[in-house]
């Protein structure tokens, strides 16, 4: 996927004027947040569950190596394989090798953000293997040559008309805008592909150390077919997904479903524990887990460690007013919204992604809904500090802040500055009480008036009152 994070502002400006996108984002606002709050209200112990989840994740991160090794040992015991991949390239290459070993022509895929992160589809296609997305949203995107704009609802930026359009074009069937008909059409198209696929690739929501299992949760059941029908099942996922026990996993499943869609439980919860055993009715003959690092182990022990608690529920973006205004594509890479604004700089570099951690008012809504209490604003601020100390922030910002701080550190001079700014704005306003246009402050006055100061500064007035 092409990175457009450096063009965030331009992306955002276009998105704000895209009527179709704005309509779709409107639906999002009415959907997930409302459902989440209903689900939370129904569960009085939800806050306690969040505390438990946070503490457990912290414990896991402190012992990440131990649990990962335990997980690996159990996968091997079950007859599967684990591949450790430091970079996206390593991971893609490994997956291609496995595909080649079984002479695969087509692979079916369940929804996996890690596979987006490593840009797997492009890589496979370039190397003669056809990937087929089986999640409905991802399938639609693949037909369009599009990318997810949301981590659990990848096609949230589209409207029904868009789907009807692309199905008509690619399926060569009569155009329909009945969701049921469209769904049926997708099912029929995908069914053949399921049957013919040589390899099934899925992500994982969690990896269970004590059993060597991986689990994916879906509401469509496509994951089940992806991982049971083909002869080879590859799980591509990242190292922070490991949890110690099945019971720990259920704690996170409860948090995840409620935080994401407001469900008490996701519809399909599918565990994979190694390849098919003698006597099993079905299941793959080969089972591989590709564990991607891609900068995560660097985050352990750093000021960004808390980000690794993330369970990819999407609550932070669902509640983010900035995401809600500009949509996921504006962020210009795989992970959008507040969680993306923390992760993206780690993965593609702060030089490329610097605008993202700045694109927040720090309203704190994301942190207030995050099931594992990740202090997202604080972590975005850490990126801003990193940027500032590396002299990457725009000159205007550095000079502006530098100049302002010079005064803020000198109360007497600061008084003079506020007195003169106060006077300047009052002169600008005349008798109107507000100003329509201020030089160098177009950002403000393009969209709104600037209320004028009322009288002299507080400090001046206070002084004269005390003296009188």
């Amino acid at each position: 996927m092409q990175i457009t994070s450096p063009a965030f502002k331009e992306n955002a400006r276009i998105a704000l004027h895209d009527a179709g996108l704005q309509k779709a984002l409107g639906n999002l606002k009415e959907g997930f947040p409302v459902k989440r709050s209903t689900a939370v209200a129904r569960m009085p112990e939800f806050e306690q569950l969040r505390d438990e989840g946070t503490a457990l994740k912290n414990h896991i991160l402190e012992n990440l190596d131990i649990y990962l090794e335990q997980f690996e040992a159990n996968v091997i015991k079950n007859g599967g394989h684990v591949h450790w991949c430091r970079t996206p390239e390593d991971a893609c290459k490994k997956i291609l090798d496995i595909c080649k070993e079984v002479d695969a022509k087509t692979v079916t895929k369940g929804k996996s953000m890690v596979s987006e992160e490593i840009n797997l589809n492009d890589y496979l296609e370039k190397n003669g293997v056809e990937p087929i997305e089986t999640d409905l949203g991802e399938y639609i995107l693949q037909l369009r040559g599009d990318h997810p704009s949301h981590i659990i609802a990848p096609a949230i930026h589209l409207n029904l008309e868009d789907v009807s359009e692309i199905f008509h074009e690619k399926h060569k069937r009569p155009k329909s805008s009945d969701p049921k008909v469209l769904m049926q059409e997708a099912r029929e198209m995908l069914r053949e592909k399921f049957a013919g696929a040589d390899v099934g690739i899925t992500g994982a929501n969690f990896l269970v150390a004590e059993t060597g299992s991986s689990i994916i949760v879906t509401n469509e059941g496509n994951g089940d077919l992806t991982q049971t029908l083909p002869k080879t099942h590859i799980v591509v996922t990242s190292i922070e997904k490991v949890v110690p026990t099945l019971e720990d996993m259920t704690l996170f499943l409860r948090l995840l479903a409620r935080s994401a869609t407001g469900q008490e439980f996701t519809v399909y919860n599918t565990l994979s524990t190694g390849p098919r055993r003698a006597g099993d009715q079905d299941g793959p003959e080969n089972f591989h887990v590709v564990l991607v690092d891609n900068g995560r182990s660097e985050m352990v022990g750093s000021e960004f460690q808390e980000m690794l608690r993330c369970i990819r529920c999407s609550a932070c973006m669902n509640h983010c007013p900035v995401y809600g205004a500009v949509g996921g594509h504006s962020y210009g890479w795989v992970y959008p919204g507040p969680m993306g604004s923390v992760l993206t700089p780690q993965m593609i570099g702060i030089e490329e992604a610097g605008l993202l951690p700045n694109a927040s008012t720090f309203c704190g809504k994301c942190e207030s809904v995050c099931p594992v209490r990740i202090p997202l604003p604080k972590l975005m601020r850490h990126w801003r500090e990193d940027e500032f100390s590396k002299h990457l922030s725009p000159k205007a910002v550095r000079w502006g802040i530098g100049g302002w701080a010079f005064f803020a550190k000198r109360p007497t001079l600061y008084r003079l500055l506020s007195i003169s700014s106060n006077l300047f704005l009052r002169v600008m306003a005349g008798k109107k009480g507000h100003i329509k246009k201020i030089p160098l402050a177009g950002g403000w006055t393009d969209g709104r008036d600037m209320p004028a100061p009322r009288g002299k500064t507080f400090m001046s007035q206070y002084k004269s009152r005390k003296q009188s």
């Binding site: 205004a325 704190g364 530098g402 701080a405 009052r426 507000h434 209320p451 004028a452 009322r454």
Partner: protein
């Protein structure tokens, strides 16, 4: 609780926006505090809380400003300000210093004494002798930092319930950010503008004649948008209403002769 004969020593944190844009908020805050039995002083050495530097990643300048503010408010039993955002920033000072830095303890101490005005009146003083009167149907915007960092939600509503002739008509999404965000509105004006548009449409839909809030930054933003859109809704800081100091024109409505401030 404090005995009434010994007034509580409060240092007023004016905030830079109140200093520059709307001094009446500072005077209304003083009046409320005095009514509640406090002796209020305004330390000279204060400037801004340092939030613009903090949120721009300039930690060094933030630390300098933090030390200056901590020193300026030494010796006051409480530090009170008419802004959840700026008082929230005073609380953030604790994050700026390492455990073994002596400023860390001083920052913790300041944090334990620093309160947003409506929370101070309600949670600390249990003060509810509001004698003001204001004819309006008002709606209240919950500014983010006050709400989520300091837990300011019921306090302003409790106090407003005491104001004669005022009814409160809650808007949809009163807890959603207005798009001000300090430097955010300058760095990302398009997005900020969309956010404040959503806000004003909720304000208008509430049917209120007055918009109230506890943070001048947000109020300037929303008032500026309401003005640009041509709405007649008045915007005021809550302390003006609580202190009965509403003779002053509302935010953005001023009409005065230069050189003869009200």
């Amino acid at each position: 609780m404090h005995a009434s004969e010994k007034p509580i020593k409060v240092g007023l944190f004016v905030t830079c926006l109140v200093d520059m844009f709307r001094p009446s908020i500072g005077f209304a805050t003083i009046k409320l505090l005095e009514n509640a039995g406090c002796k209020v002083s305004v330390p000279e050495a204060q400037t801004c809380c340092g939030q613009p530097a903090f949120n721009s990643g300039d930690k060094k300048s933030t630390q300098d400003i933090a030390r200056q503010t901590i020193q300026a408010f030494d010796g006051y039993e409480y530090v009170v300000g008419p802004s959840g955002s700026c008082i929230g920033m005073l609380h953030h000072y604790t994050e700026l210093f390492d455990e073994n830095d002596p400023w860390k303890a001083r920052a913790e101490d300041l944090k334990s004494r620093a309160f947003e005005i409506t929370s101070f009146l309600t949670d600390v003083l249990d003060f509810n002798t509001i004698l003001s009167k204001y004819d309006a149907k008002a709606t209240y915007h919950d500014s983010c930092a006050g709400l989520r960092e300091l837990g300011v939600k019921q306090q302003p509503r409790k106090l407003l319930a005491k104001v004669a002739n005022l009814t409160l008509s809650e808007m949809e999404e009163s807890e959603t950010c207005c798009g001000f965000g300090g430097t955010f509105c300058v760095k990302y004006p398009d997005i900020s503008n969309r956010m404040v548009e959503n806000k004003t449409s909720n304000i208008v839909d509430s049917g209120a004649t007055t918009l109230l809030g506890g943070d001048l930054g947000c109020l300037l933003n929303m008032a500026g948008k309401l003005k640009r859109q041509g709405h007649k809704i008045e915007t005021r800081h809550i302390v003006e209403v609580l202190a009965g100091m509403t003779d002053e024109p509302a935010i953005g409505d001023a009409d005065y002769e230069l050189g003869q401030p009200a």
